[in-house]
């Protein structure tokens, strides 16, 4: 199984090499996609990595969503292509309207870098289909704006359509309903604030991110 996975780079991205390292380690073939380029080079799946896409002074993802690459990714997603947004990537996906809700500043107004415990809420998504419901995953978070917020109606929809895929065991940032990650209704677009790529190597403390990225690589395979 040798999936080509595109990793999008904006000028202020900084986790793209980390995502590529983890994906390659799991047997996929990652390649960089430059934000100003609308050609997705026939990749089987797309990862939008962490960082600060365009500095994100106004709002994370506010500028990124207009990039040529994002326009192509929106089409790709609408055609069922697997898309994963990690941290800043999650923020970009909500700004682009591929995922509902928004990510606000953390309650407590501090940047937070630490390992947290996640609980799998739904295994029905391109990111979680190899996990089991209720499973605990130890994965680091690293963000200032990870506080998931939406209207009450949206939250009810997310819940009734099983779109909440990962929650925090102990809410670090004020997210509604402890939300750490969600998927779209067709379950091929997922976003999460924690960084699975930082939990793929024994030397880095946890390997619980592997199962998520493996699921995603599998999903890319299924989608082809």
């Amino acid at each position: 199984m040798n999936q080509n996975i595109g990793v999008v780079v904006f000028p202020g991205s900084n986790c793209e090499k980390d995502a590529m390292e983890a994906l390659a380690d799991l047997g996929a073939t990652p390649l960089l996609l430059w934000h100003a380029d609308s050609d997705l080079q026939g990749v089987d799946a797309v990862v939008i990595p962490g960082g600060f896409a365009h500095g994100d002074y106004l709002r994370p993802g506010a500028i990124a969503r207009f990039s040529p690459a994002m326009e192509a990714i929106i089409d790709f997603a609408h055609n069922g292509g697997p898309v994963l947004g990690i941290c800043n990537g999650f923020q970009v996906l909500t700004e682009a309207g591929l995922l509902p809700g928004a990510l606000q500043k953390n309650a407590g107004l501090k940047f937070l870098c630490k390992e947290v415990e996640l609980q799998v809420e739904s295994t029905n998504s391109v990111l979680t289909n190899m996990t089991s419901k209720g499973q605990t995953l130890r994965i680091p978070i690293n963000h200032f704006e990870g506080n998931f917020t939406c209207t009450d109606e949206t939250l009810i929809e997310l819940q009734s359509q099983d779109q909440i895929i990962l929650t925090y065991r102990e809410n670090p940032n004020g997210s509604m309903a402890n939300i750490a990650g969600i998927c779209n209704t067709t379950r091929n677009v997922v976003g999460l604030m924690p960084h699975p790529e930082r939990a793929c190597h024994t030397l880095l403390g946890s390997t619980d991110g592997r199962i998520l990225l493996e699921s995603f690589i599998q999903g890319a395979h299924a989608a082809v």
């Binding site: 000028p11 202020g12 900084n14 986790c15 090499k17 980390d18 390292e21 983890a22 100003a36 960082g51 600060f52 365009h54 500095g55 994100d56 002074y57 407590g108 501090k110 940047f111 937070l112 870098c113 630490k114 680091p140 690293n142 200032f144 960084h195 790529e197 930082r198 793929c200 190597h201 030397l203 880095l204």
Partner: protein, 736 residues
């Protein structure tokens, strides 16, 4: 010419005379402004240079020693590492967030100027006491500034220090160390060579921010509020997104071989970058001020040349590569403009258009090489003799020793959890342990070498206040021991010398002594000094800070297939204390807490220290210990408490007779947690290395017990440890 102008720019009459001698005429305003910033303390090291010469700088792995933007060492496998530390003390007192943020930005530029990708920063910090409102406000702003800039620019923060003490109340210390990695063959130096080459200014526009910043802010202490208000225009605002693109653009330019030299713009702005690149290359430069993109209208040439606007670089480019340089800059959305031409003359000529009026002309090298060199008067403090008789061991012991222990516990997590410490997937040991440990991956291929690098920063004003020479030596020794605790062999040292007003002979004595102590230790440990920074005038209202030399030391770990043991023990482990007997309380955190800030220090036994380090490294490499911790701030008491808190397992310590043994910080000591089955092997090894060792207790249960001294639940220790900073800082802070 207005004969007071040079004084208002901070130049002495003698310095003016020297300028006139160099030029053979009176300088004009622009020229005078350039000399004033370049000859400021911050840029010219005029008070410290003669002392710094005494530091050892040679080593077989040293590729670039002090004097360049950063030191560079060869770490094998075709990999080189650049490192440097710098202070941003004064700006951080005035505007903590931006002061600290721009400090991070500045040191990162020093690193990628060498062609290295910045991969880690560390932030040794010093603030006034937590009880002081303004100090809390400064601490909170500084930490969020470091967090805001560092995280966004994408360089992980892997360690540092955070210390609160009365001495920093009017003058905090914000030092930042940065480490970068590069393929050895790509090393570049900041020089312009090749007549006809072009100087291209990259990055931000130039504004009036920070005009005269180095001379105004870093070369004078603080006075009253009104004076501070006048320094306001010098405050700069950082733009980490610009810096991030600048890093990527510059590294791509270097990868493509499109620049012959590159130089960051820091203190003294364009005046410094233009003259430095020219004089290093033994050439001159015509510098066109009107080609500099300006943020504000009506800027004078002297303002343009001395502005310290952030996030700018000067690249030296061969004309035929210019188009490609522009293309890469456009890709990264970086402004780029040709502002200079390399000439054979040796002169830095400031022109208004390349064929327009000459606004100023000085020998480029004179701005650095002819900078004044002062051998300032030195004198020992008057009370040296009486201080020695004032021993902290004569203080009465604590009523309830557990309360004193509680007061010495402080987790840095409030700060460190605000920093991205994991980016690049290198961080095996992050903030909060003996030393940071990173995987060593090849900078271009990303291939893991299986080896590791270890980093530590240390400083101890308490020791240095008592005896700057021994204190500095002990500081270096502590760093070396910290590295040994993670199994690393030290390779190189950088330092930041934070001292008071150099015009005070006692301060100069402190500086001179500290340099000697550092040199002695570096020689003893075979550790080359590859760079550093001197920050003087750390004083407020006439009071100088305690001398605070900070060192950063990098080490290498040969086999990093497993994470080194940390501050932890298992239930049932035996607790061993390595090293000499505890000796006194002078300069300890406990003594300072009791208001005792004097006394004497015994010289460190370098031979013994080296044996302790070698043994410790061996124990770690051979996987003979569950966990370990060097004994430093707070003594055995705090080190053992930290192990208990970290592991959630208590202990019984049997052989700790009194508060002196419990809180003494005498050097060369390590606490080990050893599985009983390995005990004999550990003790044999200790005997082989001829290192004193003693079984002092047992790890077990949930209670922290020291026989005949104290009994407290580990969870109480944990609570004090966790909450100290958040209790003080999370409720909001004001400027006081």
């Amino acid at each position: 010419m207005d004969d007071q102008l040079h004084r208002s720019l901070g130049l002495t009459d003698d310095e003016l005379a020297k300028i006139i001698e160099i030029l053979g005429r009176d300088p004009n305003h622009l020229e005078l402004a350039m000399y004033s910033v370049m000859w400021s303390e911050h840029c010219s090291y005029k008070s410290s240079r003669i002392h710094l010469k005494r530091l050892p700088t040679e080593g077989k792995n040293v590729l670039v020693g002090p004097g360049e933007n950063a030191g560079v060492i060869d770490v094998g496998d075709g990999i080189a590492i650049a490192l440097r530390i710098e202070s941003h003390n004064h700006p951080s007192y005035i505007e903590p967030y931006q002061g600290a943020a721009t400090g991070v930005g500045g040191i990162i530029r020093d690193i990628f100027t060498m062609g290295a990708r910045p991969i880690a920063i560390m932030d040794p910090l010093r603030f006034g006491p937590l009880e002081d409102a303004r100090s809390r406000w400064v601490a909170e702003g500084v930490v969020s500034g470091i967090s805001g800039y560092g995280n966004s620019v994408g360089v992980p923060n892997v360690g540092g220090e955070i210390v609160f003490d009365e001495t920093y109340k009017g003058n905090p210390l914000v030092n930042v160390l940065c480490v970068g990695i590069l393929p050895k063959e790509r090393l570049v130096l900041g020089q312009a060579s090749g007549i006809g080459n072009l100087a291209v200014l990259l990055g931000s526009t130039t504004g009036r921010d920070g005009i005269g910043g180095v001379s105004v802010l870093a070369s004078a202490g603080f006075g009253d509020e009104e004076e501070d208000a006048e320094k306001r225009p010098s405050v700069q605002v950082g733009d980490p997104f610009e810096e991030k693109r600048l890093i990527e653009a510059c590294l791509e330019l270097l990868d493509e071989g499109l620049v012959v030299g590159i130089q960051d713009l820091g203190g003294a702005g364009l005046a410094c970058a233009a003259s430095e690149t020219a004089s290093r290359g033994g050439v001159g430069m015509d510098f066109n001020v009107s080609a500099v993109p300006q943020r504000e209208s009506g800027m004078q040439p002297f303002e343009i040349m001395t502005s310290e606007s952030q996030e700018r670089m000067l690249a030296i480019v061969e004309p035929e590569n210019l188009e490609q340089v522009f293309a890469i800059c456009n890709k990264w959305e970086i402004r780029s403009s040709v502002v200079g031409k390399v000439t054979p003359s040796g002169a830095l000529r400031i022109v208004d258009d390349f064929d327009g009026e000459v606004l100023g002309e000085v020998p480029a090298a004179s701005l650095h090489e002819d900078a004044p060199l002062y051998e300032r008067p030195i004198s020992e403090p008057d009370d040296m003799d009486t201080a020695i008789t004032d021993q902290a061991t004569t203080l009465s012991g604590p009523e309830k020793i557990e309360d004193d222990l509680f007061d010495l516990l402080m987790s840095p997590q409030w700060a460190t959890s605000q920093y991205d410490s994991q980016l690049f997937l290198n961080t095996v040991v992050g903030p909060g342990s003996n030393a940071a440990v990173l995987r060593l991956k090849h900078p271009t291929s990303g291939e893991d070498t299986g080896r590791g690098m270890a980093l530590t920063t240390d400083g101890n004003h308490r020791w240095c206040a008592i005896n700057p020479r021994i204190g500095s030596a002990m500081t270096v020794a502590e760093s070396v021991l910290n590295l040994a605790c993670v199994g690393a062999v030290p390779q190189a040292l950088v330092n930041c010398l934070n001292f008071g007003n150099p015009e005070n002979p006692v301060v100069m004595w402190q500086l001179s002594e500290a340099v000697d102590g550092m040199a002695e230790a570096c020689n003893a440990f075979d550790l080359p000094v590859v760079g550093g920074n001197v920050s003087l005038y750390n004083e407020s209202q006439g009071t100088n800070i305690d001398p605070t030399p900070i060192v950063g030391v990098i080490g290498l770990i040969n086999d990093l297939s497993k994470a080194p043991p940390g501050l932890t023990w298992n239930d049932g482990d035996r607790i061993i204390l390595l090293g000499p007997e505890a000796n006194g309380l002078n300069g300890s955190a406990w003594a300072f807490m009791k208001g005792h800030r004097r006394g004497s220090l015994d010289p460190i036994d370098f031979d013994l220290h080296k044996r302790v380090c070698a043994l410790t490294r061996d124990l770690v490499t051979k996987e003979l210990v569950t966990g370990l911790h060097d004994i430093s701030t707070g003594g055995l008491g705090v080190s053992a408490a930290e192990m208990a808190i970290n592991s959630g397992v208590g202990c019984t310590l049997a052989r700790t007779p009194d508060h002196i043994a419990f809180f003494s910080e005498s050097p060369s000591r390590v606490i080990l947690a050893v599985n009983p089955e390995l005990l004999t092997e550990v003790e044999q090894l200790a005997a082989e290395y001829d290192v004193p060792h003693e079984r002092i207790g047992l790890a077990h249960g949930e209670i922290f017990t020291v026989k005949n001294l104290l009994t407290v639940p580990v969870k109480d220790l944990q609570e004090k440890w966790d909450n100290r900073l958040s209790d003080a800082l999370d409720g909001g802070t004001t400027q006081g």
